[in-house]
Symmetry: C2
Subunit: 173 residues, 2 copies
């Protein structure tokens, strides 16, 4: 929390507009409090009948990241990030597959907005889901858990947040 760079906006509109996918990270680990705050934000997404179908596996071990990286052409992003969050749908809790997927999309967005507001870069990896059965087997996931996305997270390399707009307060004369 003490590392938030001063170019990160604090209001929701600019956080939404300035968040970008970050694909290259510093090696610094993320404090566990920061990861928990991302997951807590994620967990406050709305879901149909409030079924909260999302589950999260947090991966920080290099050996596990290397295993995961083999299942996607974006493996370099996975290997670069200090933290990988595997986002699963709990099939046992699902009430409507398509609506549950939309809710999990909302949940991932919360996670990424919260991360960005703390100066942490993220990247939502979807291509790896094409091999979700292999990913699940590699992670020894329960059969009720389906991998629906992977989010990489870490402090961005210097150019990570390009494209961010200046706040109006800096533009108005």
């Amino acid at each position: 929390m003490d590392k938030i760079p001063n170019n990160i906006p604090s209001d929701v509109f600019n956080v939404i507009l300035c968040r970008r996918s970050v694909r290259s990270y510093k090696k610094d680990p993320l404090p566990s409090g920061v990861i928990d705050k991302m997951l807590e934000a994620a967990s406050w997404a709305p879901s149909g009948l409030n079924n909260q179908p999302w589950r999260f596996m947090v991966i920080t071990q290099d050996s596990q990241k290397e295993s995961l990286a083999r299942f996607t052409k974006y493996g370099s992003v996975i290997k670069s990030a200090p933290v990988i969050i595997v986002v699963c749908m709990d099939i046992g809790e699902s009430y409507n597959r398509e609506k549950d997927l939309m809710s999990i999309g909302a949940c991932i967005q919360n996670m990424m907005l919260q991360a960005y507001s703390m100066g942490i870069g993220t990247c939502w990896l979807g291509e790896i889901v094409n091999k979700k059965e292999k990913v699940a087997a590699s992670l020894k996931l329960d059969s009720d858990l389906e991998v629906v996305a992977v989010v990489a997270a870490g402090y961005p390399q210097e150019k990570g947040f390009k494209g961010c707009r200046k706040p109006l307060t800096e533009l108005k004369l």
Copy 2:
């Protein structure tokens, strides 16, 4: 923008935690600038290959709201709200149905967080999607557009934002 009540938090974490579904609204219309800001926030969601599959129809006419209300058991929410946003997926732009649905979930979450940060209540209505073909016909939507959600929006009745946490600045002695 001049109507934001002073109990709305400004930081992302508390906006995420305090947002609630609002099902009863004041009759006041929403200024068009406010609706545009909700849609602009929505449009900055991430999507696979940046395909941006979301499309929005903004409905404010009572006659159209009454037509829509017939397709859901939550019709009273639709009739109460000054603004209804019908969220569609552009099938022609879709590259992967399930990933596109997740992106649209992220897009809706952006819309609702931005609304809340401006003191506007929203409700994500999913049940009406069970009759999406009838909704599309009623709205004369192009065949490329599939209704995936409906979002009601308006200034909440007094008890709209119950459950909101106090900011830490109010709790720390």
